[in-house]
């Protein structure tokens, strides 16, 4: 692989060899010396008062090192888990932030809430001991039904949050929207439920904490998407360990999809307890725990109305949403249904007046936070569902109605009525390409053929916009974020010319080790096998913000570009000295510094060597060494867009929905590695299809029990549930980052639910059942919709 790669090449992944040979190193693979094992006792109740806990039998159980309860952590002044984004309500009042102790003190608030921690010499002994803890619960009424959580008389989740209302937030010009509706030629109304999802990264969360008594240093190996943020939160808010005494390492991580952004009780407790017992502690969730305690995603109920003029141009859009926070606020929970949702409700359209009201509610359920797409799938599902419904109501083809309302390519930068300024895009060619790839024109014939064999065929369109590449720190700060949103990079050349690329982003499947290397290879002309990408260790890598919100390439990649520019600038000074030329005459091409207009040249490796062995070196002008840092803070979000078209066939006898064709055409800006991008789109679509057709966290409304708590009842998409996908691209480069990239990680999951459901509704329209179906459109639900009287 001693080749130089270019941006845009389909380069095979550098990380694959270790994953394919079983030599990846995930947290649970670590073997720590004298390691103990933690097990957490979980609440079986959705809401109960803890009247007493007797841990004496557990403490006496074989191999037990320690048993901790909420009292122990409170006595030790362990801080509560925090929410890092302050949302101010429509009156400017910050959201309600009830306490979230790592171990419940006197009340448990969801099934799976942590009640006690047992540490023993083996995992089995820890679990045996946990079985012996006796908890005296006084079971209290629970509220899990989101539509009732804000009603008078609903059980209260927190005594200091009256009516379970976390915040009542709005965005947009209500008066302008009301005026638009007053003049509307047609109004389309819709009620949608955005079903609660459980992320289910295949690697369960895990933590392995070490404490060095000699130095007082802590090390946490954990399944994190953002180890520096974990360190920051644990140090500054929860445990009070000085930041420089806590090292957080996120090694190979088996998928995250948002669920591994957050700072959870278990990881926190392992660090704290390692110090307390003076031994290493390891904990790996079993899948049951993942179901109960990984932050869930989505979970909205919405009523919306869109106003149109006589030509089908959207004139006003009003949205009323209730969003579920779960029992406690997870790390970024508050931002998801507000700044990642409300601001995206313009979609790709010129709708001039939009007003959204979001009320966030506490319930006795697992906390809800960002899951692949985070807010944007909810917005897209709503916008694209109501647009297709409007098209049916006014008798216009849904593709045509979309085109009529698209923002024109000449209108960028485009200011929406919901705060964002879209930077670039060109939507018509995208939908045209998607229509071509899906043979949209030929659908009628296929629908007739299906009908002849007793099947219902439908086609659905979803044209999404997302705001990603999170984001300008000044903007997110003004909106309440507790952290900056830049990214860091360091290019650390070694004297022999190879380079380590240290990034504050974190790869847990996205392929950074390859794409980031490609950027460096392209930019600096260094062969791929001379480049190593390092991430995930707070003591190796400069402070970084991690990976979420499709930000790694747009922000982290741009930081790498910036660091590379610094390398080139420094290299020019060295090369000018070595070639006895003026710095202004030096150009850098294909990994070599040249004196412009001559054949004199110095390869980068030679400049690097000179920097480390500065015997002949401009030491008065340039420092030795070749090691540059950069921090990049973008000037705007990036705005990937695209259109997906899904075609389904429904068997009315059983209600089974088969996806017969799925097309996605995206504008991700410039593409570094098409192979990796396609993989991201495939995976996103699968999760979106999962939401549309099969996945749902089911709680028993009366008891708050999680009924879909294993793969026996939570339907994960499998290979035979999905087709192969047809992908296409149209590119408008991002105008404000050096790579011209927009981000691709979430697009599939954002657009797919609406594409699938619009297709399902289109199919069901043949029997008048199009308004009787909600996600997930399971066979039972589809059958019931068809047969409803």
């Amino acid at each position: 692989m001693s080749n130089v790669s270019k941006i845009g090449d389909r380069v095979h992944r550098k990380e694959d060899r270790r994953f394919l040979t079983g030599t990846g190193r995930y947290v649970d693979d670590l073997q720590l010396s004298r390691c103990t094992h933690a097990h957490f006792l979980r609440s079986p109740h959705a809401h109960a008062r803890i009247k007493g806990i007797d841990t004496s039998k557990a403490a006496a159980s074989a191999g037990v090192v320690a048993v901790f309860t909420g009292k122990d952590t409170a006595d030790a002044k362990v801080g509560g888990l925090i929410c890092g984004w302050v949302v101010k309500d429509k009156h400017g009042v910050p959201h309600k932030a009830p306490g979230h102790p790592a171990i419940a003190l006197d009340t448990v608030r969801h099934v799976g809430d942590t009640v006690a921690m047992v540490i023993a010499d083996t995992a089995a002994n820890a679990r045996d001991a946990a079985d012996k803890i006796e908890v005296d619960y006084e079971v209290l009424p629970a509220i899990v039904d989101l539509t009732k959580a804000l009603s008078a008389g609903a059980p209260q989740v927190h005594s200091d949050v009256p009516g379970n209302l976390c915040y009542d937030w709005e965005l947009g010009d209500k008066a302008a929207v009301d005026a638009a509706f007053a003049k509307a030629a047609h109004v389309t109304k819709i009620d949608v439920v955005n079903n609660r999802l459980i992320p289910n990264a295949m690697e369960p969360r895990a933590a392995a904490a070490e404490y060095d008594r000699g130095t007082g240093n802590y090390t946490l190996h954990t399944t994190s998407q953002n180890p520096h943020v974990t360190r920051l939160v644990l140090s500054a808010f929860v445990l009070g360990i000085p930041e420089h005494k806590l090292r957080v390492i996120a090694p190979d991580v088996g998928g995250g999809f948002g669920s591994k952004i957050f700072i959870y009780a278990e990881e926190t407790l392992c660090v704290w307890a390692a110090g307390k017992v003076g031994r290493s502690i390891k904990w790996t969730a079993d899948r049951s725990e993942s179901f109960m305690t990984d932050a869930h995603g989505r979970d909205h109920v919405t009523h919306a109305e869109i106003a149109m003029d006589k030509d089908g141009k959207f004139t006003g859009f009003r949205i009323d949403t209730i969003a579920n926070m779960g029992a406690y606020l997870s790390t970024f929970a508050t931002a998801v249904p507000t700044y990642l949702y409300g601001t995206l409700l313009a979609g790709q359209y010129t709708t001039p007046a939009i007003h959204v009201n979001v009320r966030a509610a506490f319930t006795h359920t697992t906390p809800v936070d960002a899951y692949r797409g985070a807010g944007r799938p909810e917005a897209t599902y709503l916008v694209e569902s109501i647009v297709s419904k409007a098209a049916r109501e006014i008798g216009v083809d849904p593709a045509e109605l979309r085109k009529r309302n698209f923002i024109a390519p000449t209108a960028f930068p485009y200011q929406t009525p919901v705060a964002l300024t879209y930077d670039s895009g060109n939507y018509v060619p995208i939908i045209d390409e998607a229509m071509k790839l899906s043979d949209y024109a030929g659908f009628g014939a296929r629908q007739s053929a299906a009908k002849a064999k007793g099947k219902l065929r439908g086609i659905g369109i979803s044209s999404y916009i997302e705001a990603c590449g999170l984001a300008p720190s000044a903007v997110v700060g003004s909106l309440g974020a507790g952290v900056g949103q830049w990214e860091s990079a360091q290019l650390r050349f070694n004297p022999t010319g190879n380079v380590q690329v240290l990034t504050g982003s974190h790869s847990h499947g996205q392929g950074h080790e390859t794409t980031f290397a490609q950027i460096v290879s392209d930019k600096l002309g260094v062969p791929m096998d001379q480049i190593e990408v390092v991430h995930g260790d707070t003591s190796q890598v400069p402070f970084g913000m991690g990976t979420y919100g499709s930000r790694s390439l747009a922000v982290g990649g741009s930081a790498i570009m910036k660091a590379a520019d610094k390398i080139i600038a420094k290299g020019k000074k060295i090369a000018a000295h070595l070639m006895e030329a003026a710095e202004a005459d030096i150009v850098f091409e294909n990994g070599t510094f040249k004196v412009s207009g001559t054949d004199k040249n110095v390869p980068l490796a030679q400049a690097v060597f000179a920097a480390y062995v500065p015997h002949n070196y401009p030491i008065d002008k340039v420092e030795p060494g070749m090691d540059e840092n950069a921090f990049y803070d973008p000037s705007n979000f990036t705005y990937p867009s695209g259109t997906q078209i899904c075609e389904v066939e429904i068997d009315p006898d059983t209600g089974v929905v088969e996806i017969v064709h799925f097309v996605a055409v995206d504008d991700f800006g410039n593409i570094v590695n098409p192979m990796v991008v396609e993989g991201q789109v495939h995976g996103g679509i699968a999760q979106g299809v999962g939401q549309a057709l099969m996945e749902a966290a089911a709680y028993d409304n009366a008891t708050g029990q999680l009924l879909s708590g294993s793969y026996m009842d939570y339907t994960m998409p499998r290979a035979d549930d999905l087709p192969s996908f047809t992908l296409g691209y149209k590119t408008t480069p991002c105008p404000h980052n050096p790579l011209g990239v927009k981000g691709c990680g979430e697009a599939g999951a954002i657009a797919a639910p609406a594409a699938v459901m619009n297709a399902v509704r289109d199919a069901l329209a043949q029997v008048g059942a199009q308004d009787r179906i909600e996600m997930p459109a399971t066979p039972q639900r589809v059958w019931a919709a068809i047969n409803a009287r």
Partner: protein, 197 residues
């Protein structure tokens, strides 16, 4: 999950009421019931060793009687703890009324399970309830005799292959009859059993 039913019992109301309150009869009818004892006027304690398929565990249950209106009925509620398997709890309002020489028993019961059993065994919760109802019935039929069903409810019993010619509705009737026997305290034990899957 909610059950309700109405039964005609060929016994005077006072006798049925006494049966509803007789731990000896109840223990005899509950398979796997190792102990059932009165701990106070309105409280019973039970230990049940229960097996369903591969599942086998010991449950401890506590039963409370309230709203007592002898001999017309009461509310019974309670819960069983199955250790790491989770818990089960439930309640029933039982009412009796005389009809000639016989007694009409009505009940409205609800049962809930939680913890591991609810999380991994959702598909079997209802079925287990039905199975347990059947087991109670068989046992009680031996002990007390064969009462007559006047009306069906949502509870139905197993449609067993061993008697394929009997339509499901007949099984449903048989299943329902159990509840008369199970009456009060036993319901909670059933619930405790449910919690095993």
């Amino acid at each position: 999950m909610e059950f309700k039913g109405e039964y005609r019992i060929a016994a005077p109301q006072q006798k049925v009421w006494e049966a509803l309150n007789d731990p000896v009869i109840l223990q005899a009818c509950i398979p796997g019931c190792e102990t059932l004892e009165k701990t106070a006027d309105n409280e019973l304690k039970a230990q049940v060793r229960m097996r369903i398929g591969p599942v086998s565990a010991k449950f401890g249950g506590k039963v409370t009687l309230s709203d007592i209106d002898a001999p017309n009925g009461y509310r019974i509620s309670g819960e069983g703890q199955g250790g790491p398997a989770g818990f089960a709890k439930g309640g029933a309002v039982v009412t009796l009324r005389t009809d000639g020489a016989e007694t009409i028993l009505n009940y409205v019961a609800d049962a809930q399970v939680g913890g591991k059993i609810a999380q991994v065994g959702a598909r079997l919760i209802d079925g287990t309830a039905k199975k347990l109802a059947d087991e109670f019935f068989g046992k009680f039929a031996e002990v007390v005799g064969t009462p007559e069903v006047v009306e069906q409810s949502s509870v139905a019993a197993a449609t067993s292959a061993s008697a394929p010619s009997v339509p499901p509705t007949d099984f449903a009737k048989r299943g329902l009859q159990h509840w008369m026997v199970i009456g009060a305290g036993a319901l909670i034990l059933i619930v405790a059993w449910l919690s095993m899957r």
